[in-house]
C-alpha cells in the first residue's frame, strides 16, 4: 500500500477544509472498503481525513422522521429502536449485508461511498473502464453472473453492492452533504450514478463534499416493510437480486407502495415504473406480476445473468404477496 498522510477531523468544517486544500485527499470512514481498495492499489490517495469522529447521532425529526449522522456505524442504525419500529426493512437490509464485524466498523457515509464494483474491477490483469477509463470492459464478454441487468452501458455492467442503500432508496431518504461551496441535500435516488460512458464516477458528489447525515422522512407505510435478499449462499454474500418494499393496502387495493431493487444495477434501483402500476391497483398477484413485468421491461441479460430478470420479477411478486398477507392480518 502506498504511504499517505493521515489526520483526524473533529468537526465537518475542519474535515472539508483539509480535503479541499490537500490534493489527492479523501475522507476515511470505517475503512472496510477503502483500505481494501488501497491495499490492492486501486485507490491511491495521498492523504486520508478520518471522519469517524463526526456526528453519529440518530435522532427523531419533527413529524416522525429520523436523522442519522453519517459517522453512525451500520450496526448502530440496524439496532436503533426508532429504525427497527418505523423502518424495519432498513434494519433488515443492514443485517443482511457483510458480516457482524464489518457492520460494526463501517459507517453510514462510507456505506454510500463504497465503490460500485465487480470481480474484474479488482483484477489487475483484466480490462476495466472503472479502474482505467477507456481500457474496455472484460465483464461484458466474460463471466457475468453477478452483474447488472438494468441501466447498463457499453462501458460497465458492475452492480452497487450495498443492501442498506436499497432500503434507503425505497425510503425516499435524503443525503446531506457539505463542501467548500456550501451545503446541499441530494435525494438518495439521485446520489449514485448509472455508468454511461463515465463508469469511473460512482456518485454525484463533488471532490471535497462530505456526507454529514442521512434523513429518513416520515413514512408510516414503512412499518409494513421487508427486505428480501436472494444470494448464492445464505449469509455473507452479495445479492444476486434483492428487493426492499413497503406496502399499504386499503379495501383490497394498493394505497401506497415503495419498491427498490438491489444487485441489478450500477446504483440502488428505485422501481418507479412498478410503483406507478401498483398505486390504486388491486392488491393481487396479477397486479404484482404486471408491475414487475413493467419494471423489468427494458432489462438486458448477458451470457450468465439473464436469469436475474425472471428472478427479480418473482422476488418482487413474492415480497408484495407477503406484505399483503401482513396487511390483511392487521
Amino acid at each position: 500500500m502506498k504511504d499517505f498522510a493521515y489526520a483526524r477531523a473533529d468537526n465537518a468544517a475542519a474535515a472539508i477544509d483539509l480535503v479541499s486544500r490537500t490534493p489527492g485527499a479523501k475522507y476515511l470512514g470505517g475503512g472496510t472498503n477503502l483500505v481494501d481498495l488501497m491495499r490492492e492499489g486501486i485507490e491511491q490517495p495521498d492523504a486520508l481525513v478520518d471522519v469517524t469522529h463526526l456526528s453519529h447521532r440518530i435522532e427523531e425529526l419533527d413529524g416522525g422522521g429520523i436523522r442519522i449522522g453519517a459517522a453512525a456505524k451500520n450496526a448502530e442504525v440496524a439496532n436503533h429502536r426508532l429504525v427497527r419500529e418505523r423502518f424495519p426493512f432498513l434494519s433488515q437490509a443492514i443485517v443482511f449485508g457483510a458480516s457482524g464485524q464489518i457492520r460494526n466498523a463501517a459507517t453510514v457515509g462510507g456505506n454510500l461511498m463504497q465503490r460500485t464494483r465487480c470481480y474484474y474491477f479488482y483484477d489487475d490483469a483484466a480490462r476495466c473502464n472503472k479502474r482505467r477509463p477507456g481500457a474496455g470492459c472484460d465483464a461484458i464478454g466474460g463471466f457475468n453472473r453477478i452483474h447488472a441487468i438494468l441501466g447498463t452501458s457499453e462501458s460497465c455492467i458492475a452492480t452497487h453492492p450495498s443492501d442498506m442503500c436499497v432500503a434507503l432508496a425505497a425510503s425516499d431518504a435524503v443525503v446531506h452533504v457539505e463542501g467548500s461551496d456550501g451545503a446541499r441535500r441530494i435525494p438518495m435516488v439521485d446520489f449514485h450514478r448509472l455508468p454511461g460512458d463515465t463508469p469511473e464516477v460512482d456518485t454525484n458528489l463533488r471532490r471535497d463534499e462530505l456526507i454529514t447525515a442521512v434523513d429518513l422522512p416520515a413514512l408510516p407505510l414503512a412499518r409494513n416493510s421487508v427486505y428480501r435478499k436472494v444470494r448464492d449462499r445464505s449469509s455473507y454474500a452479495f445479492a444476486v437480486v434483492s428487493v426492499a418494499a413497503a406496502l399499504r393496502v386499503e379495501d383490497g387495493a394498493v394505497e401506497d407502495v415503495r419498491l427498490a431493487l438491489g444487485g441489478v444495477a450500477h446504483k440502488p434501483w428505485r422501481a418507479v415504473e412498478a410503483e406507478g402500476v401498483l398505486r390504486g391497483a388491486d392488491a393481487t398477484e396479477g397486479s404484482f406480476r404486471r408491475a414487475a413485468d413493467e419494471e423489468l421491461r427494458n432489462a438486458r441479460g448477458y451470457a450468465h445473468n439473464a436469469f436475474k430478470i425472471e428472478l427479480a420479477k418473482r422476488t418482487i411478486v413474492g415480497v408484495l404477496n407477503g406484505l399483503t398477507d401482513r396487511e390483511r392480518a392487521r
Partner: protein, 178 residues
Amino acid sequence: MQRDAGGTTISLRVNGTHHDLRVEPRVSLLDALREGLGLTGTKKGCNQGGCGACTVLVDGTRIISCLALAVMYQDREITTVEGLAQDGELHPLQAAFIERDGLQCGYCTPGQLLSAVGMMEEFRNGMPSSVSEDVPAGPAELSPSEIRERMSGNICRCGAYNGIVEAVRQTFDGEAAW
C-alpha cells in the same frame, strides 16, 4: 497535510496495557498488534475482510483488524485473544472450544473466540439478525441458526462449525432459552 517520515507515534491500549509505538498511517491494526507489539495471537488470514481470523474487540465491539488502520484506534480499549484468559484461568468460551472440539488446526480460533464474545454482547443488546423473525421485537432466542448467521464472518477451513456452535451455545446457555 504532511507525511511524517518514518511514521508517527501512537498509543494503543491492548488488554489493559498501554503501549506507545511508531507506525506509518498505512499500518493495519492487525500488523501493529502482531509486528509492533508481538501479540501474534491475532491471526492474518485473507487480509481483505473476508475470513474473520483477525477479529478483535474495540471497546467490547468486534471488528476485523486487517481493514482497520492502527492510527484510527488510539486510546480505545482493544482486546485480543491474549486478553481473554483471566488470572491463568481460560475464558469459559475457550474451555468450551476445547471440550466441544471447536477447532482442528486452530488458526481461525482466536478470531472465532473474540467474534463470539462480541456477538453475545450484540445479542444482549437486542441486535436483530437476518434470521430474526421479528425485527422490531429483536431476537427471541440464540438458536443454532442465529449463532450460525451471526458468526458467518468467521471462516473455518477445517470445518469445525458444529463444535464451534456447540461451544458458543454451551457457554452462553444460562442467558438464553434453548
